[in-house]
């Protein structure tokens, strides 16, 4: 009898352990006699979706007001106050996130990653400023973008840069845009967000390097107007394409230019084109001959770009963590014994085979191969077109804003002495 009891006990114990195992619980939850009620796990809700839509509404209102102030009202003061509001709302209140510049990457990723769908808010942040720019010029830069606003406010004594330097540095945004799209498309990184120089200032908290970069950019911005907008901003590339062909654009004078040159001194961004002096153009030998030569070497530039892209794709692909890990394990197999290398140890513990890792890395590297080839070709085309543009002769009788580079800040309107 005692034996039977013992067997029964063992059986019960076994049964119990099995059921515990099924629940994946080593220690079953006790049953309390003291009437204890279990607290619930606290899960605070994320920011409400309505508030995200509210951001889009604010963006749309700001865009409308900025365009009205620039095109209709011609008010520099108005646009200045609007940019301060934008800085407060999108910058310091929303901490610089969500922004149109970064939304480039979300839209790119949604094209290349089947599992990712862009949220409507991000898509609208990307599209709305571009549409408005196509109609009214870059009023987004003047009154809505918090990054532009913070730089515009610190301008003290802007220096005029030589034309060649402006043009050369102006190529950097194209490189930045290509890299941002390449890294977003391969699912590697969102570099625009990671290296946003002002986000540390908006949040009042960031890694030391980001703060230094932001402050340095602002210090530089005292003497070189809007350095980020002019020489880095990847969204500015798209905006300048739109603005060049915009239906309407800021005009310096309300009626007839009296050639007083006051406006040309007022622009901190070297974005005002001077009236052309035909005699000088003839003397400098710029003409159809040069135009044809420059046009003909554009394919060479594209070929060179493709070559550089192909050559650099392995280097660029190392930014991808999977490719980096695979290369590290192949080149230095001894890291497997390093207990401090978290990435390697996690990979080894995950039970994923080396073959799968290498296969995945190769797929990503293939994407980089195609991507950097296209990016290189695009950059070659941009360099060729920029050179070609330097020899294109356009007749201008008055001082006019350069539609692509003008941020519609309205300083020139303010300086213009002509009354309506």
């Amino acid at each position: 009898m005692k034996k039977l009891k013992y067997i029964l006990y063992t059986f019960a114990f076994l049964l119990l352990t099995v059921s515990v195992y099924a629940q994946q619980q080593r220690f079953p939850k006790p049953e309390f006699d003291s009437g204890y009620t279990q607290p619930s796990t606290i899960t605070p809700e994320p920011r409400a979706l309505q508030l995200e839509y509210f951001d889009v509404l604010i963006l749309a209102i700001f865009l409308a007001v900025a365009s009205y102030l620039i095109i209709k009202k011609r008010s520099r003061r108005g646009i200045l106050w609007l940019s301060v509001l934008a800085l407060l709302y999108f910058g310091f209140y929303r901490n610089g996130c969500i922004c149109s510049i970064g939304a480039i990457q979300n839209v790119t990723l949604s094209f290349f990653d089947a599992t990712y769908a862009v949220s409507i808010t991000a898509l609208l942040f990307f599209v709305l400023p571009l549409i408005v720019t196509l109609f009214y010029g870059r009023t987004f830069c003047a009154g809505v973008c918090p990054l532009g606003a913070i730089q515009d406010l610190v301008i003290i004594k802007p220096l005029s840069l030589p034309k060649w330097l402006n043009k050369t540095l102006g190529l950097i945004p194209y490189v930045y845009l290509s890299l941002a799209v390449l890294f977003a498309a391969t699912g590697t990184d969102f570099i625009i967000c990671r290296y946003d120089p002002f986000i540390g200032i908006f949040r009042m908290d960031a890694k030391a390097l980001m703060i230094i970069l932001g402050v340095a950019m602002l210090l530089m911005g005292m003497f070189i107007g809007r350095p980020y907008c002019r020489f880095l901003c990847p969204y500015g590339v798209l905006l300048s394409w739109m603005s060049r062909f915009s239906k309407r654009h800021l005009t310096i004078t309300p009626s007839e230019c009296i050639q007083c040159k006051l406006c040309s001194k007022s622009c901190p961004f070297d974005a005002i084109d001077y009236p052309t002096n035909e005699k000088e153009v003839v003397k400098s030998g710029l003409g159809p001959k040069r135009f044809i030569t420059y046009a003909l070497i554009i394919p060479l530039w594209i070929a060179a770009g493709v070559f550089v892209g192909v050559k650099s794709h392995t280097f660029l692909s190392k930014a991808n963590p999977d490719v980096y890990l695979a290369e590290l394990l192949i080149s230095q197999p001894e890291v497997k014994n390093d207990p401090d290398n978290i990435d390697v140890q996690t990979f080894l513990a995950s039970g994923k085979s080396m073959e799968t890792l290498v296969e995945e890395a190769e797929v990503i590297q293939d994407k980089f191969y195609t991507g950097s080839m296209i990016a290189g070709g695009f950059l070659g085309l941009v360099i060729g077109m920029t050179l070609l543009n330097t020899v294109v002769f356009r007749k201008r009788q008055d001082y006019e804003p350069h539609k692509g580079n003008c941020y519609s800040c309205g300083r020139c309107m303010d300086y213009c002495p002509v009354e309506k």
Binding site: F27, Q38, V107, M242
Partner: protein, 202 residues
């Protein structure tokens, strides 16, 4: 005004013609840019979702490497330990609370696993204790999670707390996570609390 009147009539006509041509070209390019923009947004709109994304940790993929405490753009991190009470065994000898090599089973600071003493222990009835995470002190280092997962039920686990998280466009912890445990989830299902949420079977 005076300048245009000085110009001969023929020149004016020529100017007008080239102006017309340029305007025609401009509006042509404008139209194609608008079409391109419409195409891009239309294509991504066909996939776009109304819901927003937030970042969240898959507690079953998490390997408790400790990077959540160091890689977040916020300091202290927006990642905190949460307690899924449904799974807790209410043990006296808690693998998440006490260091495994502690000499005596006392709750003295040197025996506690948590570096910031964020786990608060409350006696309920013999021999059970409730463990509560003080979120203000928690830094998301996952030391308790490792202890609880190795020696206990795994009721302690990390989650991104959304009233702290800034919801960066790309989570800087997700980039560094060795097990890719941090993913975008829909904002309407913002938490993966163990117990209510089970390991997705793929």
């Amino acid at each position: 005004m005076h300048r245009t009147t000085r110009e001969p009539l023929r020149d004016m006509e020529k100017n007008n013609k080239s102006k017309n041509r340029r305007e025609f070209l401009q509006s042509g390019v404008r139209l194609s840019l608008a079409l391109a923009l419409g195409g891009v947004s239309g294509l991504s709109l066909s996939k776009a979702i109304k819901d927003d994304y937030v970042w969240q940790i898959d507690p079953f993929a998490c390997t408790q490497c400790g990077r959540c405490a160091t890689e977040c753009v916020l300091n202290p991190s927006a990642v905190k330990c949460v307690h899924a009470y449904d799974l807790c065994g209410y043990c006296d000898l808690c693998g998440g609370y006490l260091k495994p090599d502690s000499n005596a089973r006392t709750t003295a600071a040197e025996n506690q696993l948590c570096p910031t003493a964020a786990i608060e222990r409350k006696f309920i009835e013999e021999p059970y204790f409730e463990y509560h995470i003080n979120e203000d002190l928690c830094i998301g280092c996952a030391k308790c999670v490792k202890g609880c997962t190795s020696f206990g039920n795994g009721s302690l686990h990390l989650q991104i707390i959304h009233d702290i998280c800034l919801n960066c466009n790309e989570c800087s912890i997700a980039r560094m996570c060795p097990s890719d445990a941090i993913k975008r989830v829909k904002a309407s299902e913002a938490y993966n609390i163990k117990g209510d949420w089970t390991k997705p079977t793929i």
